[in-house]
Subunit: 351 residues, 2 copies
Amino acid sequence: MRRAGGRRHTLRDIAAALNLSVNTVSRALSGKDGIGEKTRALVRAEAERVGYVPNSMARSLVTGSAMTFGLVITNPSNPFYAQLISSIELRAREHDYSLLLTVTDESAENEARAAESLLRSSVSGAIVVPVQAGADPWQRLGAVGVPTVLLNRDLPDLGYRFVGTDNELGGYRATAHAIACGARSIVVLEEDLPITTIADRIAGYRRAMTEAGLSMPRGSVMRVPTRRHDQAALPWQPQQAYQVARRMLRRARLPDAVVAGNDYFALGLYRALAEHGLKVPDDLMVIGFGDHPFSAFLSPSLTTVRLPAEEVGEIAADLLLEEIAGGRSARPLKQLIAPTLVERDSTARKR
Amino acid sequence: MRRAGGRRHTLRDIAAALNLSVNTVSRALSGKDGIGEKTRALVRAEAERVGYVPNSMARSLVTGSAMTFGLVITNPSNPFYAQLISSIELRAREHDYSLLLTVTDESAENEARAAESLLRSSVSGAIVVPVQAGADPWQRLGAVGVPTVLLNRDLPDLGYRFVGTDNELGGYRATAHAIACGARSIVVLEEDLPITTIADRIAGYRRAMTEAGLSMPRGSVMRVPTRRHDQAALPWQPQQAYQVARRMLRRARLPDAVVAGNDYFALGLYRALAEHGLKVPDDLMVIGFGDHPFSAFLSPSLTTVRLPAEEVGEIAADLLLEEIAGGRSARPLKQLIAPTLVERDSTARKR
DNA sequence: TTGAAAGCGCTAACAT
DNA sequence: ATGTTAGCGCTTTCAA
């Protein structure tokens, strides 16, 4: 029955044991000066002896800061976000902040609740991947003075700081690479979600095509249906991409290359193509997005766009730390980190 | 300069505006009875008007409960843990708990700090994947009365509640399946980490081999080196498994099947085998572990062991909720959920 | 160098 | 049905 668990010791306990005032004990422990060395040693020893642990809630109540980051993410099973969690948690921890994590699962309702919850918890600041179904919840957070950094998806109306991947550039590079490899007719396979990351990638694709003077007939942008509000283990559904790819394969003229919005879609593509007797890259090139862990080990290995997850996470945390500190940052308000193309065999066409 | 952010409104503000006592306002808002309906309506209206948000720290300080789960995980980039985060966060949220997340990255030092941090934060309870480098930090947590549930890796000395995957059974099923498919000589490929999940899987492998009367010569258990304390994007390194597999392929006699400790290792195996001109499954069968998102889409598709991540997460959360509520649970102290074998092409040998 | 007093925002007794 | 008092554990004035 370990439930027993005696009451935690408080400053008062230590003060009583040592015949000191609570205040003295507080200062001895918090390393402030204006205290005798022997007193401090005494207090520390007693604190150690009884296993004193400060109560952060009490401290926060008076200082007004909970020393906590709120992190709001759509889906931890997305490897990009998983990495972001890691790198932000680490940075937070290094600066003695705790991490309060909320998952929105692309739901505006969850997002509204999340913002409210961060408010209640008096987080020192928030890092948010918005659902992009309105800016209200985060507007509110900023309005009451909680520094908020937008991650990966911007909400320009708010004028908050933002770090993310340059998806437009990613889409451009992927497409330009396909073109450089000889593709003339290129199809994009993207999820059907109304978020800027996807729109940006498509814009990048269009720019590359336009620059190369290539046409984008109807059907060049294919959409994979999303199942929102679905506590999904998978960030994306290769199976859904597979279905869409099969539909594409019924067309009279096949494209030379497909640029996928993520590597999971490329997985579905691979299967559809294999079943159809098409060889990658010789019959059709495939380019992924995300450089997910498996991509280097597919056969053929997948050419893809690597995302600067760790860097984005670190910058987000640093931006937040700066905002909390109150200093105007030298950094630009909006920061887009360039992703890099990783060339592998799925675009290495033998001539 | 949104930094302005006026002070948050408090109960006192509302009380003053309405000429009521703070207490009345408190009860009106918290839905307690003993309050006039018109008063309540009035208070609610005013709260709404000024956008009142309760201060959880203040409430927690007096109630003693922070309405927070502490979740301590080794690595969010492990898809199994990513799912666990999702399902636990959801369950917590449904019951109005927030989630405080800490990443240990397999470091005992981080773990000790994490436990201390949970203590400071007065979490209502903790769900922990221990590093298994000693039980002290969690012993301490329980000792001061914080309900703690162990996840995926047990610390039997503590006598805490535990939920996890039945890895022994998983290893057994994987191996037994290989045997059923005709394999006589089977090698296991496991990470080199001193944790029970791995030891259990190996034990299951041994049981299956023994039952079938098969021998396990030296070299039957191959170890893939771990890079600990490495904020890695990858939960495991296919590349490392690839290296180990290449070493194996230099042996005089090759096994009929390899049982991998996770699907990422299977990825490395696939490459090594392909480079060596060996066909899966005809020359060598491969079985993975984890049923990671990509596994169904490899070619050949990977036979693997699917882990009950969502179920484990939900049970962990439910156990914790029960412990917090203080009611003795009808459930067993230790709960092992059976994983299921997913048969695919990597073991479908044409006879 | 130390102590006393006040108060952070809230809830829980106990009055009225 | 409402108000008063007290106090959660800590930090922050201000005195001594």
